[in-house]
């Protein structure tokens, strides 16, 4: 029995209505509170949408056959559809998720009232809160040019609190080495897990292909959040100034109107390269701007996960 077809994702504009502006969200100092607000807002928005039963798309179902354990009958689905369906592999839908957050200096850039690092922490906390609620095991890696902190994925009482506390801890912020968290993952996480990497990816991409391959070979699923500030995406400033690199402290005289076209071209090339790299390694690539509401980011994340899971089910059934 095939899984119930998922509803078509609602346009983002419908989701945006009523979501908290990220700037306002970041003004909340408590990270756990932020995460809770985002998740609740996400559910609230989901209920408002014309698409119900979204959550049921996160399980595999088959028609009830005599002899199945009635404990696994999804009664909510029965209430809606008046048919008996068994949740399949429900225990296998519980993820082991490791959230990896880039805490290098470049993440300290922000032009809309908060930095990318704040957004990344909030996004990680939100994902951790959501997944923990779903019963998934969550873990954490914080890194810059080395792994600064690691929490193995667990679903225990207090694990979420630990993750939040680690996320709230101040970071030194140095240069970026994107291979570091993934190598750590390979070395320290044996079971297949969901690896979520949140970074601005301002680093050379040449060495990532090897690590991606290794992760895929170990059965890990990778999701990449490519996080950028709106100024980094659009390069809208006008005044010619001396630009200073946050990580290397190098200075360069830049006249933005003159340099904008070339900058955007190079940035797009970098993005495309990263996207192609992810695509070629079955990695989910999700570009995010810090001006986007986190609910939307969460929604897109879950949608991508669902569509990925469907493809996986289809392959296993064939």
């Amino acid at each position: 029995m095939s899984s119930a077809p998922g509803p078509t994702p609602a346009p983002e504009s419908q989701f945006r209505k009523g979501f908290i502006d990220p700037q306002a969200l970041m003004s909340i100092r408590n990270l756990e509170l932020r995460a809770r607000i985002v998740v609740q807002g996400f559910w609230h928005g989901l209920h408002r949408s014309p698409f119900h039963g979204f959550s049921v798309e996160f399980t595999e179902y088959r028609a009830y056959a005599p002899g199945d354990d009635p404990r696994y009958i999804d009664w909510r689905l029965y209430a809606r559809s008046d048919r008996y369906y068994i949740k399949k592999f429900e225990e296998e839908t519980n993820l082991r998720c490791i959230l990896s957050v880039d805490q290098s200096h470049s993440m300290g850039f922000g032009t809309i009232g908060f930095t990318k690092a704040e957004y990344a922490r909030t996004l990680a906390a939100t994902l951790a809160y959501f997944l923990f609620q779903q019963g998934d095991a969550i873990g954490l890696i914080t890194f810059d040019d080395a792994v600064r902190d690691f929490l193995p994925p667990r679903h225990r009482r207090g694990q979420l609190r630990h993750v939040i506390l680690r996320l709230e801890a101040p970071s030194e912020g140095k240069a970026t080495d994107l291979r570091v968290p993934m190598r750590w993952m390979l070395d320290h996480v044996r079971k297949r897990s969901l690896f979520v990497l949140i970074s601005d990816f301002f680093a050379p991409l040449e060495e990532l292909a090897k690590v991606f391959r290794s992760l895929a070979a170990c059965g890990h699923q990778v999701v990449i959040f490519h996080l950028l500030d709106p100024e980094e995406s659009n390069f809208d400033s006008h005044d010619p100034v001396l630009f200073q690199d946050l990580e290397s402290r190098a200075e360069l005289f830049i006249d933005p109107p003159v340099a904008r076209a070339a900058y955007l071209e190079r940035l797009e090339t970098h993005r495309r390269k990263l996207r192609d790299l992810c695509q070629s390694h079955a990695i989910t690539y999700q570009p995010v701007t810090t001006s986007q509401p986190l609910e939307v980011v969460l929604f897109d994340f879950l949608r991508l996960q669902l569509s990925r899971r469907k493809r996986h089910v289809r392959r296993t059934r064939q």
Binding site: S106, M107, G108, F109, K116, D200, F202, D229, E232, S237, D239, P240, V241, L242, F243, Q244, D245, L246, E247, S248, A250, E251, L252, F253, I254, D255, V258, A259, A262, Y263, R266, L267, H270
Partner: protein
Amino acid sequence: MNFLAPLFLAGAAVVILPVLFHLIRRSVRRRREFSSLMFLKLSPPRLVRRNRIEHWLLLLLRCAAIALLALAFARPFLQRPVALPPGTGARQLVLLVDRSASMRRERLWDDALGHLRRWAQQAGPNDQIAVYAFDRALKPIVTFNQWTELAAGGRVQTVLERAGQIGPGWDISDTGRALIRAIEIMDEDRGADHAPRERKIVLISDLQEGSKTEALNRYDWPDDVQVLLEPVRARNVNNAGIQPLFDLEEDARGKGPALVRCRIINDRQSARAQFQLRWQAPGTAPALGVNVPPAQARVFNAPPRSQTNSIGELLLAGDDSDFDNHAFFATPAIHPLRVALAGAEPPNDPAGLGFYLRRAFGEGGGQPAGIVPPAGVAYSEAELREVDCIFLTGGAGAADLAAARAAVEGGKTAVVVVKDSAAAGALNQLLGRETAAVTEANISSQYAMLAEIQFQHPIFAIFADPRFSDFTKIHFWKHRRLSLRDENVRVLARFDDGDPALVEIPLAAGRILVLTAGWHPADSDLALSSKFVPLVHSIVEYTRPPRQTRLMFHVGEAIDIAGLLNTNTNTNAIATAGSLRVRNPQGTEQPVPALNPLFTPETPGIYWALHHERTLPFAVNLDPAESRTAMQGNDFFERLNVPLEAGTASSEVKSAGLIQRRLQNEELEGRQKLWRNLVLAAIGVLLVETWLGGWLTRRALGNAPA
């Protein structure tokens, strides 16, 4: 202020760079942190309207440094100001018009008159102008005084009329002397009551290479006089000239009529080399083709002619200008030696003196006879007046002696050979008194030799060369000892025993030469010596009056007409007043003063000197320098140190003037060296700018936000 290298002033345009740099200067204080520079590249600065200059003093200092350096590289100098003397400010001009023979080409004279007209028309009311034509000398057309006296409206016409009357001549152009004379005229005219503003000589000429300029070599040119060139240029430059030559010696050696040769000079700028040469007289041989490359001269034999006249005209054809294509010849008449020989010896006796003398003067062997025999038994005085010399060899009769004495008194020369003591009588008869005594000398050795010889005397002058002065090989077995009571005796040669060998005794208008030994074998071997013939010829030449062989002159050359007639007609005396005349080629006769019988021909051609029944043709030709018609090269005036007025010279001489001006400017700049001051000023400005820039930077960094 002037500049030697004004192009460097363009470097001052670089001063815009500091202005630009100040406008696009980037502020160090404005920094902005960005996440990563990996997608950014350095932006070139750009000017925007709102940019403004903040440090004006710094900008001005930098601009000043650049400007000072540009000025220094341009090598400025201050032109020496021309001191304008006080006064009315009038110009003093001398217009020199070349009227030499080369100005006869094409329309050169008309072009010269055109320049003259233009200058006369441009004259200011206060200008002092004089106009002179020049060739070998200056010829006034309008003097300063005449110019002042003429009405302003009629000056131009008067100048042109008088210049037209003068016209081009046939003489050479002495440009140097003309310029100097023009300056002297200006100095004479400049009075004490006023000083002209500028003094200038306008030279209207074809500036040919043949013009004379030697006078300027030693002339100290005044500082306030400039020369302005107004060249007249011939359109056709193919010119060759002919210069007559002739060889008298050829005829004297009996090779026929005098050989007429000519030199043809082809001008440097000529493009032709083939010409034709022919005689002017009708019925002569066909024209002779000759080849003379440009810038070279060749000598050719004139074509043969049927009539051997002493005068003639050769024509050259084949070039563009005819003025120098005529060569006039006048060859002097050749008079052979005529000698009288009086004596009793048989003519063909080899033991006698006459035998050798006849052979020395060409008797026999087909040579013209030089010995003139008497018409009768003895010589008459008239006959002896027609000969050049009288030889008395002993045994001459009384009639001969009497005629000889009369001839000697009339100016002839008699040569007495004392063969024996009896010759004393003949000598005394010649002298007209008993003054001579002759004895036989006693030669102690086998022979005597000539020892003391007066080589400075005309008789022995031909032997003065050390190659010919050795007479020791001539041996005299016998000689006579001559004693004379005449104090006027001049001993021309002595024997080695001290006795005179040859003495000269003046007698009235003539002279007697006495040889105390004969040349025949009885006395010596002189007749067998190679010196015998030149010695006797020299004696005869000494006795002849000097002959002028030259009968060809140049236009403008002063000719002594009386001397010409005397020497060429073998006479000694001329001229009562009014008897001397010259007939020019046009047939007109003009008298020549007897006291100052100099005649200066003005045109080429055949002239005739006339005195009573005597006539003598002589030729006058163009000076060959006038055939060098190419215009002077660029270094002409530079070599002469003549200051030219800028901007008015012809293209060929303009560069000479430019070169000279440039040299003067370089010398002036080299003395002033203003560039050093400018470089020092630029260094000072840069030092101040460096200090100010550093101070401003330190101040800016100190105020910059942390």
